[in-house]
Symmetry: C2
Subunit: 200 residues, 2 copies
């Protein structure tokens, strides 16, 4: 996949697409934030989006999944970006390259991301689902690194560490009320990891 | 908690305790391995253990939880061991110290651990539960490191990385048909992490 293909994907992802699934996600984030996740029903989400419950279930299996709309695309964009990293990049650098490329996806919808983050933290069920998405990212990036010629045991470790950086950079970006972008937090978190691993 | 307290906990954990919960877990691992996880019912597990379904549900909330019997104790032993690491140990070394201490828990019940591992890999539902246990370990070890005076952002990163080492050392230990113990795999995986983070 070429760099311009990836840019195309990232552009589409960053642009708000008011399709049915997107409207349902917006309605769900609104309602979960207003009334709480437990207290909101699928019927209410569908009504707020001006759609039927039937349409809801055509897009999402349950009340949790609506919050993860777009995560498959995000994963694909990340895979493509790691794939496209310079051929001589070391494993962690290839992943960092991929993480920096998805920065605009978070930066351009920061208010939405912050509300979504608060909702996920409010529910163990949602945290479980998020952990699973992380597991699936680790598996996907391990495979990408192996295709880049990285030995399997090293690829698994680099993917695990890379997804820790992905996650903790996100936490720092959420907590940061300055205006530093996600990519900057990736660089800082990776530098912390290098410092941490160098001691001992 | 002193070193001898920890040794006490580890001794109790390593010794097979044929109490009701332990018998239920043994029966579940047997049946899941023989017939498959999906195909086995709680009634069958209870019957195999010579107990009632009612007793089963006094110990475990569902079909998944029985496979994680002991994981709370394992977490507590790990917390205590990291707590007891030398005061001047760097964050990752403190965690590695804790991980090495739980080695005997795995080594002494290797056949059981291998069967359990195969069962968990066979079911997405069980992998989900395992991911959650990992998340809870990360939270617990972050808190321990903070109590050791490590700055929160660094503690979170060290705990994430330490649990990646915990997990990948376990995978290597499972795959290793030689007789190297879990603690040795911890050392090797940590060395890989240091090498990985040093490049770039």
């Amino acid at each position: 996949m070429s760099a311009s293909d990836i840019n195309g994907i990232l552009r589409v992802m960053a642009r708000w697409e008011p399709d049915a699934a997107g409207r349902l996600q917006e309605a769900a984030v609104d309602l979960y934030a207003e009334r709480g996740y437990e207290q909101t029903t699928v019927a209410e989400i569908a009504a707020r989006a001006g759609l039927t419950e039937r349409t809801y279930f055509r897009h999402f299996a349950d009340k949790r999944e609506v919050l993860f709309h777009g995560s498959q695309q995000l994963q694909e964009a990340m895979e493509a970006a790691v794939e496209a990293a310079p051929a001589d990049a070391a494993p962690l650098d290839a992943i960092a390259y991929g993480l920096r490329r998805i920065g605009p996806f978070f930066d351009e919808r920061r208010p939405h991301s912050l509300r979504r983050h608060g909702i996920i933290r409010s529910s163990r069920e949602l945290q479980e689902r998020e952990m699973m998405k992380r597991g699936s990212l680790v598996i996907a990036l391990t495979a990408v690194l192996e295709r880049r010629g990285v030995e399997p045991a090293v690829a698994a470790l680099a993917a695990e560490s890379g997804i820790s950086v992905f996650h903790l950079a996100y936490e720092r970006w959420v907590a940061d009320d300055g205006n530093r972008g996600y990519a900057e937090h990736v660089d800082e978190t990776l530098a912390s990891l290098r410092a941490l691993a160098a001691v001992g």
